[in-house]
């Protein structure tokens, strides 16, 4: 009985992240447009875009290798697996023990690895530009994320995300300096990793400012759809991660009943909407940075996360 319940939670979680991810992106676009006093596209526009892309024929550059055609599926798969292991509305995921937070970080690293390779595959200067800059950002963002994981793991005494979320729900957490630092660092990493303003602009096609868009420039049709869906999933993943660690309220505990799960789902949708609105608000108020300012920005996250880890090593209370 327990197995069936856990399995159904796991499967519904996998489907939920997949179905909600485009909606989140649509919501952020809509909110951003309204903040700028524009009408903006429909809320469901990302779904229509994906369907349209999937049905078109894919145009592949003549110099592209097989990697170019395989990479979108690998990127999608690794991101999806990572996203389905982050608790969204319940902590009792069946497969949560198969990969901990370090593994989730590394799965996102795999997706980035293949995305950067795909950017270089056609052999254009823009692709190389995007890959090179993306990897440069990653050299700072990834250690920052690992340090955040360390901080959380040292507080919850486990790198399993379900255990961490369960611990955050318990009254033993309290207010901690290290948690505050980790939160700021995680938000910065999330902005950088999802190619949002001020690090990158998701809606730019101005050549010299592109990073993420430069890598996927040559993609079209179903391949592009897969990549778009993966970036939407990744955004959802980071918001879920922040939500389940720092705002875990409403998360259904292990072996809870149906009503707890329903509350969890409602709370999750609420958290997504709140985070999406905050992101849209943030993006409308800041300007994009120069590329070589970005390392300083992500470097702040790395330093804060390292500081948080050091605090945890120094004292159990902070």
């Amino acid at each position: 009985m327990g197995l069936i319940r856990d399995l159904s939670i796991q499967i519904s979680q996998m489907l939920a992240v997949l179905l909600l991810a485009p909606l989140l992106t649509g919501f952020i676009r809509k909110a951003k447009a309204r903040l700028l006093r524009r009408q903006g596209p429909r809320l469901l526009q990302p779904y229509f875009d994906l369907v349209k892309l999937v049905r078109k024929e894919a145009v592949v550059a003549q110099s592209a290798s097989w990697l170019f055609r395989v990479a979108p599926y690998i990127i999608f798969a690794t991101t999806w697996v990572a996203a389905s292991l982050v608790p969204t509305f319940a902590t009792g995921l069946l497969f949560n023990w198969s990969a901990d937070l370090i593994a989730i970080t590394a799965l996102l690293g795999s997706a980035r690895f293949f995305l950067a390779l795909a950017g270089m595959d056609v052999g254009t200067s823009f692709g190389g530009l995007g890959s090179s800059r993306e990897m440069m950002f990653a050299t700072l963002a990834e250690p920052a994320l690992i340090m955040i994981v360390f901080t959380l793991a040292l507080i919850a005494r486990s790198t399993q995300l379900s255990t961490v979320a369960g611990f955050m729900l318990s009254p033993a957490v309290g207010l901690r300096v290290s948690l505050a630092l980790a939160l700021i660092a995680l938000v910065i990493v999330a902005i950088a990793e999802n190619a949002r303003i001020p690090v990158d602009n998701p809606s730019t096609h101005l050549e010299l400012t592109m990073v993420h868009e430069a890598m996927v420039l040559e993609y079209s049709g179903r391949h592009l759809a897969m990549i778009e869906l993966s970036s939407q999933l990744k955004l959802l993943l980071y918001i879920s991660l922040i939500a389940c660690v720092f705002v875990p309220w409403g998360l259904a505990p292990v072996a809870a009943g149906f009503s707890a799960h329903a509350i969890g789902a409602a709370a999750y949708v609420g958290k997504l909407a709140g985070a999406g609105f905050l992101l849209a608000l943030f993006e409308t108020t800041v300007a994009k940075m120069r590329v070589f300012r970005v390392p300083d920005f992500i470097g702040v996250a790395l330093m804060l996360a390292l500081l948080a880890t050091l605090l945890r090593f120094m004292s159990r209370g902070l």
């Binding site: 690293g109 795999s110 690895f113 250690p143």
Partner: protein, 669 residues
């Protein structure tokens, strides 16, 4: 198989080397020799692995050769069996690879005799059980590899590499000699068994630790003793580069573990600190330099330095935990170190084989002249991709598992009491995370530039796939990278006897955990399941591809690249290795390589080309190497004068020396 069997195998290898001199040049000589080496290494590998898996008791052998009254002691315990397995597996794969690769060697008589001798040397180091045979084997290994580095001695660069290598190898051996001298004590107990029995005083032990860090560290490539490594490893033929980087550095790690964990007696609390500091610095500096190299083999050599750094951080953690009485944590760190040793042997050999295949088929090592090889060499490209992903620690491959284990060990350290350690260990963890991220960038760059994009030269355009022997060797290693990643529990269990010998504790048996997960400390803390991650990624990728192809469109149209509407005609407008690493060079440039960029832009109207030049300096070279080399040169010039004295001066020198020695002898008593 007892030590006698291993000695027999080594003798067979030496005999093969001698035969190679007799057989001389010719294609059959190469095939005969490499297949011989392959068979012997496979036998030795099988014997060592069976000893490791069955957790055989240590067995010893004393031969009446070597120093009088001491004899030559040989012993195989769990630690030696593990390293024997790694070394002989690497040797077997290199021999298999060389069956194809070695045919194109243009100076076979400079390679063939030394190759089996090199293998025998490494094997002998691992089974030696007294200082004398250890040092003789160590030096034999160094000299044989030096001869292989000098195989293509007509290139100036190789000559320089050979010189630096032999100087560094001598310094390393000298440091080890002093270390063993201190361990042997005034009584001259050269056998390891006696060294193990009597613990040296703290001061002596600390000195020995420093000397071993220099001796074994210089061979392994620890910063700042690393500078010879990226010169020497790429200079050798590629299968030898693979052996030097993938395997010989492991023999150095073995030397360190043998002396520090086995012979040196009780561990002081601070021993782990220098080891960890040096390891973390090595990891970051190694990978930063790997990121800015344009020579494919040199990228791999610098990345070896990084991986050795990771191993030493784990060893340092293990020392710290042992000294503080956390034996399970020490066992975890040691498991991580040994697992990484195995992983690095697998993927670094694979990558060097791939670089060798590229070299064979294009004649180029400069990445700026490669590109687009994935279309022309699909199998090599696929195996290289696996190797690059594994070394970048991507799940579900093996590199991730050892990194995960190191991180888990770091997370156990807040329970330590020392404040210095509490500050140091998180910093080391941050350095490791940084090194891992940089390694990802490094191998995206290496694979992306060499194998993807459009060919940057006609050599790359006309590349063809390499022979079947080379492909088999690479394929086997790639499969093993995957297997070790998805069944890590089995590897950890096989390492248990080694870890128990060294740290006195062992992790819980991983095979007892359901669903082939690994949970090194306790299930409640953290677990990882490579098989399931692999299965999920594979299933979701296939499912997505199936759904999209089935329900939506499967049409493909080939067209010219779009590139924002301005497709560039020349392949030279692609990102080059230098331009790829430019952002990283600018971010990390100042503190790591003191990069200076000089741009010479002619004013409008002038016809000379614009030039852009980047210069990078390895600080270690200036601080440590230049003085040593300068000193050796000055000393040599000074001694050179001794050659041209008159007979009277020689006689007076001899007389003076005799009087001096007699005086010393007289005052001694």
């Amino acid at each position: 198989m007892p030590p006698a069997g291993f000695l027999l195998g080594d003798a067979a290898l030496l005999a093969l080397g001698a035969m190679a001199i007799v057989l001389g040049r010719g294609r059959s000589a190469s095939a005969f020799l490499y297949s011989g080496a392959l068979i012997v290494s496979l036998l030795l590998f099988g014997a060592a692995l069976s000893r490791l898996v069955t957790a055989a008791e240590p067995s010893t052998l004393v031969l009446p050769i070597g120093l009088p009254w001491v004899g030559a002691h040989f012993r195989i315990d769990a630690l030696a069996s593990f390293f024997l397995s790694v070394v002989n597996f690497g040797a077997a794969s290199a021999s298999l690879y060389a069956l194809g690769y070695g045919r194109r060697e243009h100076e076979p008589s400079r390679v063939l005799p030394f190759f089996p001798a090199f293998l025998a040397g490494m094997n002998l180091v691992l089974i030696a059980d007294d200082a004398y045979s250890f040092l003789v084997s160590w030096e034999f290994m160094s000299l044989a590899s030096w001869a292989l580095v000098m195989a293509h001695h007509r290139e100036d660069e190789n000559l320089r590499a050979g010189l630096v290598y032999i100087v560094m190898a001598s310094i390393g051996t000298f440091a080890l000699l002093l270390a063993f001298g201190l361990l042997a004590g005034p009584g001259g107990h050269y056998a390891f068994a006696q060294m193990r029995a009597d613990a040296p005083s703290p001061l002596v032990a600390a000195t020995v630790l420093g000397l071993v860090l220099v001796g074994a560290g210089s061979k392994a490539g620890l910063v700042p003793l690393h500078v010879w490594l990226p010169l020497a490893h790429p200079a050798a033929p590629s299968h030898v580069s693979a052996l030097m980087s993938g395997v010989m550095t492991k023999v150095a790690v073995y030397g360190f573990i043998r002396v520090v964990f086995d012979l040196l007696g009780p561990i002081d609390w601070w021993w782990g600190i220098p080891v960890m500091v040096v390891g973390a610095a090595t990891a970051v500096i190694g990978v930063l330099f790997a990121l800015v190299q344009t020579d494919l083999k040199r990228v791999l050599a610098y990345s070896t330095i990084e991986n050795i750094g990771v191993v030493f951080v784990a060893l340092g953690l293990s020392l710290v935990f042992m000294a503080n009485g956390f034996s399970v944590a020490a066992a975890l760190a040691m498991t991580a170190a040994l697992f990484h040793v195995l992983n690095h042997a697998l993927f670094k050999s694979l990558l060097f084989f791939g670089a060798g295949a590229v070299l064979t088929s294009t004649g180029e090592r400069d990445m700026g002249k490669l590109g687009g090889l994935l279309n022309l060499m699909p199998a090599t490209g696929l195996f290289m991709l696996v190797g690059c992903a594994a070394i970048s620690a991507l799940p579900p491959l093996n590199g991730f598992v050892s990194e995960w284990l190191v991180f888990q060990a770091i997370l156990l350290s807040p329970s330590l009491l020392s404040w210095a350690l509490k500050l140091l260990i998180p910093a080391a963890g941050a350095m490791l995370a940084l090194a891992a991220a940089l390694a990802g960038a490094c191998f995206v760059r290496a694979f992306g530039i060499a194998f993807l994009g459009r060919p940057r030269s006609s050599a790359a355009e006309n590349a063809v796939e390499v022979d079947r022997f080379s492909l088999t060797a690479m394929g086997a290693l790639a499969v093993l990278c995957l297997l070790a990643g998805i069944f890590p529990g089995q590897v950890i269990d096989a390492l248990t006897p080694v870890v128990r010998d060294l740290t006195g504790a062992n992790l819980v048996s991983q095979s007892a955990i359901p669903w082939v997960s690994i949970a090194p400390v306790a299930e409640s803390r953290s677990s990882y399941n490579g098989l399931l991650v692999f299965f999920f990624i594979g299933m979701s990728a296939l499912l997505a591809a199936y759904v999209v192809h089935r329900l939506a469109s499967r049409a493909i149209r080939r067209a010219p690249a779009w590139d924002c509407g301005f497709p560039d005609a020349s392949p030279l407008t692609q990102y080059s290795p230098d331009s790829f690493s430019q952002p990283i060079r600018r971010v990390y440039g100042n503190f790591a390589f003191r990069a200076t960029e000089r741009l010479d832009m002619p004013p409008p109207g002038e016809l000379r080309p614009a030039r852009f030049k980047v210069e990078m300096v390895d600080i270690a070279w200036e601080v440590f190497y230049a003085p040593v080399i300068g000193g050796v040169n000055r000393l040599a010039t000074w001694f050179n004068r001794m050659q041209f004295l008159t007979i009277r001066q020689y006689l007076s020198l001899v007389f003076g020396a005799l009087v001096f020695l007699l005086l010393v002898l007289a005052s001694w008593a």
